[in-house]
């Protein structure tokens, strides 16, 4: 009696398990629906939250635009796009669990990650799953080493080289101090290329100071820089650190000009007194005051939806959605392999410039320099 009860029970359990497994499968392959689900990953909370929120909102504008215009024609059917964006707190561990949730919820391509560190941590896993990944703003060199991974923004090394040429050739400044975060791939990546290029151009790095993640006190490093004959400070850091550095340098009575990296975008909102940022120049693919009509239309839509001025990350998010749309149209299918193959054949006229992709996953596009003047971002050239 007891034995048979056990048998019935185990049979029941097994069948329940099988059913739930099958149900899981059913959810995963939503290919017959008329929706194409783009998974999104980026920090919506924490120090880098402003990047993730901007990318998400920019992407939402693009998706609403595309869906309002009738969706995407893929082969013989028309699909609407849907964005499922999760918070990865710019951390590798959180990104991995958020990515797994996205895949369980049926993501068919990944827009992300927004930051480099999180992307490096999960790149291998995404490559195993084989879906198309386009990072709007992750700039570490290693992010595109997988065949399914593409990027929309500049790489760290390219950014470092460009800034080095700007400092030495355009500004004619040869004595440069560098301050960077030695626990961050982005910061060290830009710095390494910058230092190398400055040396190649005949400039001199007179101070190379580092700090750890989460540091709030930069006075020691800045005092050291103050003691050198540096003519300019290069700080390839995120906006939060940039705010600390510039504010504390002003307190120490320093008035050296700054060069930043694209992580500086958003720095104006983080300082109490914008005068400490006066004259700083950083690289950015997008500027909201650009007179290009497409940019102005985007700025207007963004302001209506979120009551805010979009930054480069919002534009990156917006462009990434259009890149995915172009890939879908070119491939004529939602199959991941076909989408990945289509990536190298498309050209997208985006807000951040006209872009094509190499087989290595890198973008071909130009750079813009942004300067902070009178508490505003302005285009340099």
């Amino acid at each position: 009696m007891k034995k048979s009860l056990k048998k019935i029970l185990s049979l029941g359990l097994i069948s329940a398990l099988t059913v739930s497994l099958l149900a899981g499968c059913g959810q995963k392959s939503g290919s017959d629906s008329t929706e194409f689900i783009i998974g999104g990953l980026g920090p919506l909370s924490g120090e880098a939250a402003s990047y993730g929120i901007s990318v998400k909102q920019g992407a939402e504008i693009a998706i609403n635009e595309i869906n309002a215009a009738g969706g995407v024609k893929v082969g013989d059917q028309t699909l609407t796009l849907k964005l499922n964006f999760k918070d990865d707190e710019a951390s590798g561990e959180t990104a991995l669990s958020a990515y797994n949730t996205l895949m369980d919820e049926g993501a068919q391509a990944l827009l992300g990650t927004v930051t480099s560190g999180a992307g490096l941590a999960i790149g291998e896993k995404i490559a195993e799953d084989g879906i198309l990944q386009v990072t709007p703003s992750g700039s570490a060199a290693g992010l595109t080493e997988w065949p399914n991974a593409f990027r929309l923004c500049f790489t760290d090394p390219l950014q470092g080289q460009t800034m080095a040429r700007y400092a030495v050739e355009d500004l004619g400044l040869k004595k440069i101090a560098v301050i960077f975060n030695n626990a961050d791939e982005y910061s060290t990546g830009v710095k390494a290329a910058f230092v190398e290029e400055v040396a190649a151009l005949g400039g001199e790095i007179v101070a190379e100071e580092s700090f750890e993640k989460g540091a709030v006190d930069f006075k020691t490093q800045l005092t050291k820089i103050k003691g050198t004959d540096a003519e300019i400070i290069f700080a390839p850091v995120y906006y939060g650190d940039a705010a600390f550095i510039t504010t504390q340098a002003a307190e120490l009575g320093m008035s050296l000009p700054y060069l930043g990296s694209d992580g500086w975008d958003g720095v104006l909102a983080q300082v109490v007194d914008p005068a400490v940022l006066e004259g700083a120049v950083f690289l950015s693919p997008f500027l909201a005051t650009d007179e290009n009509p497409a940019v102005q239309a985007f700025v207007k839509a963004y302001d209506e939806a979120y009551k805010a001025v979009p930054d480069q990350f919002a534009a990156d998010g917006y462009d990434t959605v259009y890149v995915m749309k172009a890939a879908l149209e070119k491939a004529g299918s939602t199959d991941s392999e076909a989408l990945i193959a289509a990536m190298t054949e498309i050209q997208v006229e985006g807000l951040t410039g006209s872009v094509t992709f190499t087989a290595e996953g890198e973008p071909n596009k130009g750079a813009k320099f942004v300067q902070i003047t009178n508490g505003e971002y302005t285009l340099v050239k």
């Binding site: 100071e209 006190d217 020691t220 005092t223 050291k224 103050k226 003691g227 009575g253 983080q270 109490v272």
Partner: protein
């Protein structure tokens, strides 16, 4: 030469904030024989209270500072009453875990109320940078040094000269004997938490004026550094915490400036290990034989 002096002053500035926080760790340890890991987060609470009173309620600075200090002192007493007092007879590990839990609770509450985005906060200390020759010292650093000095003198006088201070010393020597002598142990412990938390509030105020940015995890790093400072100086010893904090700040600053900014933490902790090897109870700690 000017630059050496500047680096020393930088180190004294951060060091004195560490010292203020370390005082709270060491006093609580001396009296309650527990490490209050939620102490670092009191700094964060202080920073947010200051932000709310100054920016949102637009109160005058002095009132805001008074409210901040009172709020933190009351919070310290409340935490002790709710979380630690029921565990006074429990194994010390249980109290330690509770303290860590309390730390997470405070951080998560701040996350819920203010969310994770850092808030830019304009310093309430408006003292101009002072220049002596080539040496520039920021006004906030000067005020920090001054305030810390005043707090330390006041605390030392309080502990050595007042009745309540002797009660604190008596309780830290021997709780049971102090009780027999007619000292209200509960009241003394509450007072210790209140003073420790009030000092943390002062540290919090100085911290946000120095760095002008507030976020929920703001207390974590200075909290840990101050704990190291307390151990370095000899945990349980009040002058030890002061010396430990200032020393830690100066070592940090000098090693960043003249050895390597990447090795700073390794050097700081290396010094700690060395001190503990030579003098396991810390610089000014008492070598006590454990009673069985």
């Amino acid at each position: 030469m000017g630059s050496v002096l500047e680096q020393l002053i930088n180190g004294l500035g951060t060091g004195s904030i560490y010292a203020l926080i370390a005082l709270g760790y060491t006093m609580v340890y001396g009296i309650a024989k527990m490490i209050n890991f939620a102490h670092g987060d009191i700094i964060m609470v202080g920073a947010y209270v200051l932000y709310v009173t100054v920016v949102q309620f637009k109160l005058p600075v002095i009132a805001a500072v008074a409210i901040t200090i009172t709020f933190c002192a009351v919070l310290g007493i409340t935490i002790e009453k709710i979380a630690y007092k029921p565990l006074r007879k429990a194994p010390s590990l249980a109290v330690l875990i509770t303290a860590i839990g309390m730390s997470f609770l405070l951080q998560s509450l701040a996350l819920l109320i203010f969310n994770a985005n850092p808030i830019a906060f304009k310093s309430i200390i408006n003292v101009k940078t002072v220049k002596i020759g080539d040496i520039a010292v920021s006004g906030v650093t000067l005020v920090t040094l001054l305030v810390t000095l005043i707090c330390m003198i006041a605390l030392s006088l309080f502990i050595s000269k007042t009745k309540a201070g002797s009660a604190m010393r008596a309780v830290s020597e021997d709780k049971a004997a102090a009780q027999l002598m007619g000292i209200n142990v509960n009241k003394t412990i509450s007072m210790t938490f209140a003073i420790g938390s009030a000092l943390a509030a002062v540290a919090g105020i100085l911290f946000v004026c120095q760095y002008q940015s507030i976020k929920p995890t703001l207390g974590a790093l200075p909290g840990i550094k101050a704990f190291v400072a307390a151990v370095l100086g000899g945990i349980g010893s009040v002058p030890g915490a002061m010396i430990g904090g200032v020393l830690l700040g100066v070592i940090e600053s000098i090693s960043k400036a003249y050895i390597s900014s990447e090795l700073t933490d390794a050097i700081v902790f290396g010094v700690l290990v060395l001190v503990l090897l030579v003098k396991p109870s810390g610089l000014l700690g008492k070598n006590r034989i454990e009673k069985v």
